[in-house]
């Protein structure tokens, strides 16, 4: 060529548009490599020149990984392919997890002029999402929204579940979705040939491939309901726990002797008769408490609710859909069903539990399932199940306390599929009958009274703040140290709520305190929020 030829701008090579650029974004361990190898095989099978690259090494261990493939119909001459995806230059982006789809969008690999985004809508939670004491879950619907706007085509559904149901792994259903999307100009049969040629777990892979292919061919994107199910909003819903239930079991129904069930029906009617928004929560609360203790306990709960409702009414709660009583119905039930040894022992010795575990573990026919519980009771737990007076007596004597701790405080592995281990827990669960006379119960009831009194004390002056005061109860959870930490946070938040009392934005501040308390285990954020409150409340009074 000479200078003239260079100065004459030529049109871009039209074959460049035929180069298919495909990136796979996955979490290390998901099998992105397998999928990439399949895509390479598929391309070669269809007479394409293909190049694949990956990033290997330590980056793969559970971290975000990326694989990249380029292909062009074979022409006898080797094209020059790039080794990594570039922003705005990706035709097909396969994300093996919802947040990885988000990462791809963020990195500019998904553009509306060209990119088909194929994503599995399921979540593999990152460590940062899991360690928050409250809910630190990332917002999948934000990613779905961004995907809808950024991608030329967006295909997403739960490919993980599809693969699992077919007894395969996600690489098979991702491959199926790629086939179904029709983003590559290849016959479906060549995909199947690729899977068959891989030689391992072929039947299961093919099964996962087919369901996913069909779903993708219909161009499925997740509905809001599905996203809510698969992909929770922050602090919102996650997939409901897959508690395998007995076939005839209704989530709403109670089981037990007929006489008790008749009594139950009456109580249940009483809860249903409460005003609409209250009734819903009251029914669930009632069920929880009767299950927790007995019918009388449930009756006690409804009596308390009646009294609260009456106060709510005089405070003008009707105009606010009795929000106070509805909130009380929720948190009072939780407070009354406090977590103690008896409760744990009861739940671990229930009739249906063994079947549930067998099911959850997917134990095949003929296998034995041995169940070991990891328990670690301390002296505090031992005292909590003592009668009120005895417990208080021991508690007041450091020597007795030390001896008791020496006696009980150690980790215990209890085999509940064996009679001996089971009986120990069974007997502990049987103490339920005397629960009302135990030390812990008295304390819990006092605690509830103080909390409820504080909330009710605000109902006339600041209804919203009274409701938020009830919600502080959310901070109490866990056992032993965790429980103690929760109680400390509760006390702090209550004191903060008292400080802001009388301010117009008191409810907002209390809500903020709760959110802060749920952010980190040590309560640093809560302490910070309290400092802020103190700064303006004391400044105001000075």
């Amino acid at each position: 060529m000479n200078d003239a030829a260079i100065l004459e701008p030529k049109a871009p090579d039209m074959r460049l548009d035929q180069v298919v650029k495909l990136a796979v974004m996955a979490v290390g361990g998901q099998g992105g490599g397998v999928l990439t190898n399949w895509i390479v095989d598929l391309a070669e099978r269809n007479g394409y020149a293909v190049q694949a690259t990956s990033v290997a090494g330590v980056a793969q261990r559970t971290g975000a990984t990326i694989y990249y493939v380029e292909m062009l119909p074979e022409s006898g001459r080797q094209p020059v392919f790039a080794l990594a995806p570039a922003e705005g230059d990706v035709d097909i982006l396969i994300a093996a997890e919802m947040m990885e789809a988000g990462r791809a969008i963020m990195r500019g690999f998904v553009t509306s002029d060209r990119t088909t985004l194929i994503a599995s809508s399921h979540r593999a939670l990152a460590v940062s999402e899991k360690i928050v004491p409250g809910s630190g879950l990332a917002d999948s619907s934000a990613v779905a929204k961004a995907a809808g706007e950024s991608a030329a085509r967006f295909i997403a559904f739960d490919m993980e579940e599809m693969a699992r149901e077919a007894g395969s792994v996600i690489s098979a259903s991702l491959f199926g979705a790629l086939a179904g999307s029709d983003a590559l100009p290849f016959e479906v049969e060549t995909y199947r040939e690729t899977i068959r040629a891989s030689g391992r777990g072929v039947e299961a892979s093919l099964a996962a491939f087919e369901i996913s292919r069909e779903a993708a061919a219909q161009g499925r994107t997740p509905t809001t309901v599905e996203l809510d199910k698969d992909a929770p909003a922050p602090g919102g819903t996650l997939p409901p726990a897959a508690t395998p239930v007995e076939e005839d079991a209704g989530p709403e129904r109670m089981a037990g002797p007929d006489g008790m069930l008749r009594e139950w029906a009456k109580l249940s009617d009483r809860a249903t008769a409460l005003p609409g928004p209250v009734a819903e929560m009251a029914r669930v609360g009632l069920r929880k408490l009767v299950d927790y203790q007995d019918l009388d306990y449930g009756r006690d709960y409804l009596d308390r609710l009646d009294a609260i409702l009456a106060r709510d009414r005089t405070a003008g709660g009707e105009a606010k859909a009795f929000e106070f009583t509805a909130t009380a119905a929720k948190y009072l039930a939780n407070a009354m069903a406090y977590d103690d040894i008896l409760r744990v022992a009861d739940l671990k010795t229930r009739r249906g539990r063994f079947a549930r575990i067998t099911d959850e573990m997917r134990a095949p026919e003929g296998t034995l399932v041995q169940v070991t519980e990891y328990l670690h009771p301390g002296s505090a737990e031992a005292i909590s199940v003592m009668p009120r007076r005895l417990g208080a007596w021991v508690e007041a004597r450091p020597n007795a306390l030390r001896r008791l701790d020496w006696l009980v405080n150690r980790g215990r592995r209890v085999r509940t599929d064996r009679l001996a281990g089971f009986t120990a827990l069974y007997l502990a669960a049987g103490l339920r009958r005397w629960r009302r006379s135990l030390l812990r119960h008295g304390r819990e009831m006092d605690h509830i009274d103080a909390w409820m009194t504080a909330a009710l004390g605000r109902i006339d002056s600041d209804y919203a703040h009274a409701v938020e005061t009830l919600k502080i109860r959310r901070l109490i959870k866990g056992y032993s140290d965790t429980h103690a930490r929760g109680l400390a946070k509760f006390d702090k938040a209550m004191s903060g709520a008292a400080l802001v009392e009388g301010r117009e934005d008191a409810a907002d501040w209390t809500a903020r305190l709760i959110a802060a308390a749920l952010k980190d285990p040590k309560g640093e954020a809560l302490e910070g929020a309290l400092q802020t409150i103190r700064s303006f409340t004391t400044a105001g009074s000075a």
Binding site: M1, D3, I6, K10, A11, L16, A52, V55, V58, A59, Q78, L83, A84, A86, E87, G88, D89, M99, R103, I105, M106, R107, S128, K130, I131, G134, A138, V143, S150, P240, T243, A255, G256, P257, M281, V284, K288, V290, D294, K348, T349, R350, R353, M361, P364, G366, L368, V369, Q370, T372, Y374, L375, H376, R418, F422, G430, K477, S480, T482, G486
Partner: protein, 724 residues
Amino acid sequence: MAKPQPKGSPMAERSFKKEIEHLRIGAGETFRGEGILAITKALLENGVGYVGGYQGAPISHLMDVLADAEDLMAELGIRFEANASEAAAAAMLAASVHYPIRGAVTFKSTVGTNVASDALANLASGGVTGGALIIVGEDYGEGSSIMQERSHAFAMKSQIWLLDPRPNLPSITDAVTHGFQLSEASNTPVMLQVRIRCCHVHGAFQAKDNVPPPLTVKDALSEPRRDTNRIVLPPASFRHEHEKIEKRWPAAVDYIKSHGLNERFGPDAGKVGIVLQGGMYNGVIRALQRLGLADVYGDTDVPLYCLNVTYPLVEDEFLAFCEGKDAVLIVEEGQPDYIEQALRSILHKAGHAVKIAGKDVLPMAGEYTGQVMLDGIESFMVRHAPDILPDRGRAPNRPAAPPDLSEVVPGRPPGFCTGCPERPIFAAMKLVEEEMGPHQISADIGCHLFSIMPPFEIGGTTMGYGLGPASNAAFDGGGEKRPISIMGDGGFWHNGLSSSIGNAVFNKSDGVTIVVDNYYSAATGGQDILSSRASNRTKATKNPITDALKGVGVKWVRQIDRTYDVGRMRKTLRDALTTDHEGPKVIVASSECMLNRQRREKPLLAKAIKDGRRVERPKFGVDEEVCTGDHACMRLSGCPSLTLKMPDDPLRDDPIAHIDQSCVGCGNCGEVADAAVLCPSFYQADLVHNPGKAESRMARWHRRAIDWLQERRASTRLAREVVR
């Protein structure tokens, strides 16, 4: 405890046994596969006499391929060593100093080159007779796990020639051939640099026959040679420097020129041109393609001078390329900009007026990704040759900025695998921290370095492989609290035994060291090391770390054979931190890497179950009603299989713990819940496959008795059906 490994070959996470067969193909056949396999094949085709190296991404798999190909190499008379370190690997090239034998070693760079540089400098000073090739995996840019530096500096300081071939199989394999020949022609070791993606690029090249080395290392032993002039000691060492400049350098430049190692693409003449490292070729072409200045095959309208040899530079080639051009762009990834500086110096000396662009339109630091390259080349063209840009290039249609999801998408750094035996070690450390407050902790290189991330956040520095304890040396004198250091078994054998443990013993360190022993060099892909428990046909394994510790004089040694015993782990650590023993305290915490254990045991267990033998498989579960959703267990775990679910209960606000199907039943959840006195939600379910008759009968009897008790209670109470 792990059962002895049944097969006798070196094991690693990935086996290349299948691919190895392709290494046997000869002339006329097409070789298909990954970059690292192509390099191996090229070594065999070029009559290499010995190979070695040390694993580490991105060339870990090259070591695995070599290990798996050991039989094939033995047939050809090639010696393979899995060297103890990069220093050992580089030192092995000494065989090429006096003997006309070709040798090749490989390691990760720059970290491996750092370790190797002592031997490399000596090797380069005396020079070589047989071709000596150092294949460095340049761990730079996305996917890298190390500090961002360049191997280029090592080449320059020791005068080792540096090849940076275009990232495709024919170019890489050519580079191996020319690397050996260049090394022999100039009596200088040659470094062949391959980047991360290049190592794993899938492609094809025309194979040649494998060639056995004309002189094997075995033969050489029968006829030993020496030449005092090649040994690095005065006065020879002074002569070496002159030799490098006066003889070896010109010889290298001659070879590079006469064999056309650097390539020219595009038109001969033009107003502008691009000088690029070979490794940047595909990226440059892609940018030109997107600007409409190149076609799919890389035929470009812009003249390119492609440096497949980036050191030494060939002055007259470069000056000829600049002839008649107004401006030249230098595409050189990483910093400092050694090549640009050198080329500018050449032009300056020659009094050439061509304008040079480089680190002005392209960034000084960071990887040259697709977008960076596009922006850089485009801005160069706009500035210096706007007329040749097609319309699209002149007024590009920029995509809108991508939506900002940075507040939504959580980071996903690498972490401990499901069931990792290192997790409970750090859980125990976290518990000790809660009791005794934080300590000064130094970390090391290896999977255990993931401890610095949430949820553990343990460890403040990482100074190098096997240098964890050494990097706490300033604190060896002790104080109110003791310093703690962590080191893996890989680092221990690589360098740690002398540099860290020996150092601590000699200096009477008061510190505590935890040696994390997972039976492999795990982070690099599960290669065997001295203390591996597996039987290895060609390597001596099963050398206990504790013996080595005692051998160098450590008196306070504690061996923990099951890291999952969090209580014991915590107690041992507490003892180490409080004992009045003088001198270093070393805890060896041993449990097999779960990734490798699963890979090894899974097929065996599946077969045992199929054969009707009794097999117990543990798994963990959470009683959803018992879990209160505080996630304290997560903060001591971070296990991928321990995740969250929303309880099916409108009364509860927060997600609860859930263990998914990927659980391998390591026991960490239960142990931590117990040791940290967290909560009783966890249970262990052992699935007994093919139970014995007596055992089944006993289980039925227990079941019946339990059923009776349960029925009895159920008949006197109400319970929710779902949890009745």
